[in-house]
């Protein structure tokens, strides 16, 4: 494979393109609403109407508006149909011949789409995720070529550093600095690992990217491999994501066949292999040292850092670990330059971030916005607020490690520092809207139970502390706790977050601490020794 051959694929794809393209989402969200049958109905309808020569029906990845699925789009800017059924799917085909569409449409001018900025999701819902040519036609693998033939590894690292890209897994560590550290550490071999163990409940950004645009991640990993001098990459994917695993394997095979991965990438001396490793249902494996243990076939228990994976990672070798979304940003940064990327977002938090907007909000789905966008814009304008005119009580970000942001902080910009200041974290991108009916103590109990179940048990504070905290929270919910119990809970929160071995334990108290900070009255009013307790003795929601 060389540049001319790559160009030829682009030209051929353009020439083969039929005048009209009907796209049907077959990512997990829409699949759960029967989109596979809709897709075949569409295909039959096109065949039957004799338009097969000018209309192409493709199954594509996520089109973002997951709650309204199955989604069917006609061309990129044509009408977008939602809640399509097998009954009304053929009417969409009929509209191409001047017929009347029976399916509901969703305005593309709606703030849900208009307020978004697409970098990572640019190709999602547009390209066919199962054909590498479709990705190449959008300019795919050009950045890898550019890196290999026009840049030195140090230039690549320098570009990533200048772009200001920060880790999208949640902590926001500067990506360029991490790459530089791994590159300078010596070892017989080095490894690139992509963390796709998206464990936060209510978060499916990574899954959507892997299902809809897998090559973008592979290209990002290969560029990283070139930059740090690694020849082997691993993608650690959750076992639950069967479709993503299938598509990744297919994508790796296709890229290998074309000489874009494997021995001699683009016929250069650079070799880069990528293997998929399938997780087996352990949230703690999202923690980097636990993830590496799991890749090496062991129990996914974390080990203390230092030493960091950058110096002592897989099999003791320097290892670069980044999130799916971090890698997905890399090809565009190389192609368009660091300055282009740095202009998006805020000076400290550059670029965009994909969020999964779910919960009590009108438009559930994937949202990509520049960092620094106010939370209110995301929840009220893009998300359309609470259904049926309800009030937003809080927005939960960062999953079990994050916190609940109350309504009064909705104007806060969404970036790493601002979220930290108001007691939450960016996290991997889950954003759950809770309305005024939500019981915040019960929410805290839910997350604590999650952490208790997912604790690996290696360190005592996390193993036994989460059990104690969950018990105390359950008692507060039941109305059988007193003020001393609440004090004990707060003490445990501090102790567990300060003494636990890994991020899971250190952040497990966060949802409790943040709800205590903003909704303390909900806790206090349920204590047996509080004056208002009697009114709520049935465990009813207090408002």
């Amino acid at each position: 494979m060389d540049l001319t051959e790559l160009e030829n694929i682009v030209t051929k794809e353009a020439a083969d393109r039929k005048p009209c393209e009907i796209r049907c989402c077959i990512a997990a969200g829409c699949l759960s609403a029967n989109s596979n049958d809709v897709l075949s109905t569409l295909r039959t309808a096109v065949e039957d109407s004799g338009m097969a020569d000018r209309v192409n029906v493709v199954g594509v990845g996520c089109m973002r508006l997951c709650s309204q699925g199955p989604l069917v789009g006609v061309d990129i800017d044509g009408p977008l149909y939602c809640r399509v059924t097998t009954d009304n799917a053929s009417s969409i085909v009929a509209t191409l011949n001047g017929g009347q569409g029976e399916a509901e449409t969703f305005e593309r001018e709606d703030p849900f789409f208009a307020k978004q900025t697409s970098l990572i999701l640019k190709n999602c819902g547009c390209i066919d995720p199962e054909r590498i040519e479709s990705y190449i036609a959008t300019g795919g693998y050009r950045a890898l070529h550019q890196a290999l033939f026009e840049l030195a590894p140090s230039d690549v690292i320098e570009t990533v550093t200048r772009s200001g890209l920060r880790g999208r897994g949640g902590a926001g560590y500067p990506t360029g600095v991490k790459w530089a550290t791994v590159a300078k550490n010596s070892g017989e071999r080095r490894f690139v690992v992509c963390n796709a163990d998206e464990g936060d409940p209510g978060a499916f950004m990574n899954r959507s990217v892997l299902e809809s645009d897998p090559h973008r991640v592979l290209e990002g990993m290969a560029i990283a491999g070139f930059a740090i001098g690694a020849n082997q990459g691993y993608i650690y994917v959750r076992g639950e994501y069967t479709l993503a695993i299938e598509r990744l394997n297919k994508a790796i095979k296709q890229a290998g066949r074309m000489g874009l991965l494997g021995t001699g990438v683009f016929s250069s001396p650079f070799d880069f292999r990528i293997d998929v490793r399938i997780g087996a249902g352990a949230f703690v494996c999202g923690e980097e040292t636990a993830l590496m243990a799991s890749i090496m076939g062991q129990r996914g228990t974390p080990t203390p850092r230092p030493p960091y994976p950058a110096e002592h990672g897989l099999w003791g070798m320097p290892t670069l670990l980044n999130n799916v979304e971090t890698f997905a940003n890399v090809p565009d940064i190389i192609r368009n330059g660091a300055e282009w990327f740095a202009e998006i977002g805020t000076p400290q938090s550059t670029g965009t971030k994909v969020f999964c907007l779910t919960g009590n909000v009108v438009h559930n789905g994937l949202v990509e916005v520049p960092l620094g966008t106010p939370l209110r814009t995301i929840v009220e304008e893009i998300g359309g607020g609470v259904p049926n005119g309800g009030q937003i009580k809080a927005v939960q970000t960062g999953g079990p490690s994050g916190g609940c942001i109350p309504q009064e902080h909705l104007d806060s910009p969404v970036d790493y520092e601002s979220l930290g200041k108001i007691g939450s974290i960016m996290g991997s991108g889950g954003m759950i809207v809770m309305d005024d009916q939500t019981d915040m103590v019960d929410v805290a109990r839910y997350f604590m139970e999650f952490c208790m179940d997912e604790s690996c048990g290696k360190c005592i504070p996390c193993r036994a502390g989460t059990v104690q905290m969950k018990q105390l929270l359950s008692r507060i919910v039941d109305g059988s706790a007193n003020r001393a119990d609440l004090e004990r809970l707060e003490k445990l929160c501090d102790m567990v977050s300060r003494t636990s071995l890994c991020g899971l334990g250190q952040t497990a108290p966060n949802p409790t601490v943040s709800t205590l900070r903003y909704f303390r009255d909900e806790y206090e009013s349920r204590l047996i020794d509080s004056t208002t307790a009697k009114a709520n003795s049935n465990g009813a929601t207090c408002q």
Binding site: A203, F204, I278, A280, G281, A282, T358, G359, N360
Partner: protein
């Protein structure tokens, strides 16, 4: 528990079960590397449905790993199950979005209907009730997976009738 005959054979299993041969192929592809343990267990579960002691012994022998380590890894990950599953499975997603939209009530309904708690299988081996930590179909919450098929926007009625259908089906059979 350890079968002495196994050690004399180079491949397969004394039972002659063909699935062991397929498992052997998978292990060979990984060059019997210790770090392939999880991949091998995935394959074993895919072939046998669940991981019984005899199967785990087979894996430990072939990969030359201590049996306790194989058992330790198999029990660490929730995806692996050491007990047989029911003919039908009902997986209720308990992710945050589903929690906010009432996944707890769905579980309650199944418990009322067939009297089992998450992680259990009905006495006749008909239905297994499981929970999942977010399937990632949050837009359609609450979500339930019936026999590998993801279905969104579930109500108490939906889940009750589905599960009831299975139990009646197995009675008739």
């Amino acid at each position: 528990m350890v079968n002495q005959q196994t050690s004399k054979q180079t491949a397969g299993h004394p039972s002659g079960d063909k699935r062991f041969k397929l498992l052997e192929v998978a292990m060979k592809r990984h060059q019997y590397r210790h770090d392939a343990l999880i991949e091998v267990l995935h394959k074993a579960q895919e072939l046998f449905g669940y991981l019984e002691d005899d199967l785990l012994y087979f894996v430990s022998k072939r990969l030359k790993l201590p049996p306790s380590r194989v058992y330790g890894v198999a029990t660490f990950y929730h995806f692996f199950t050491l007990k047989p599953k029911g003919r039908h499975s009902c997986v209720v997603c308990t992710g945050t979005a589903c929690f906010v939209k009432g996944a707890d009530e769905l579980l309650e309904c199944v418990r009322d209907e067939i009297g089992i708690s998450p992680g259990e299988t009905t006495g006749d081996g008909g239905v297994s009730l499981l929970t999942a930590r977010c399937i990632g179909a949050c837009g359609n919450a609450p979500v339930v997976v019936y026999d590998e098929e993801i279905v969104g926007h579930q109500t108490n009625e939906d889940i009750r009738s589905q599960v009831k259908g299975w139990t009646i089906g197995s009675d008739g059979a």
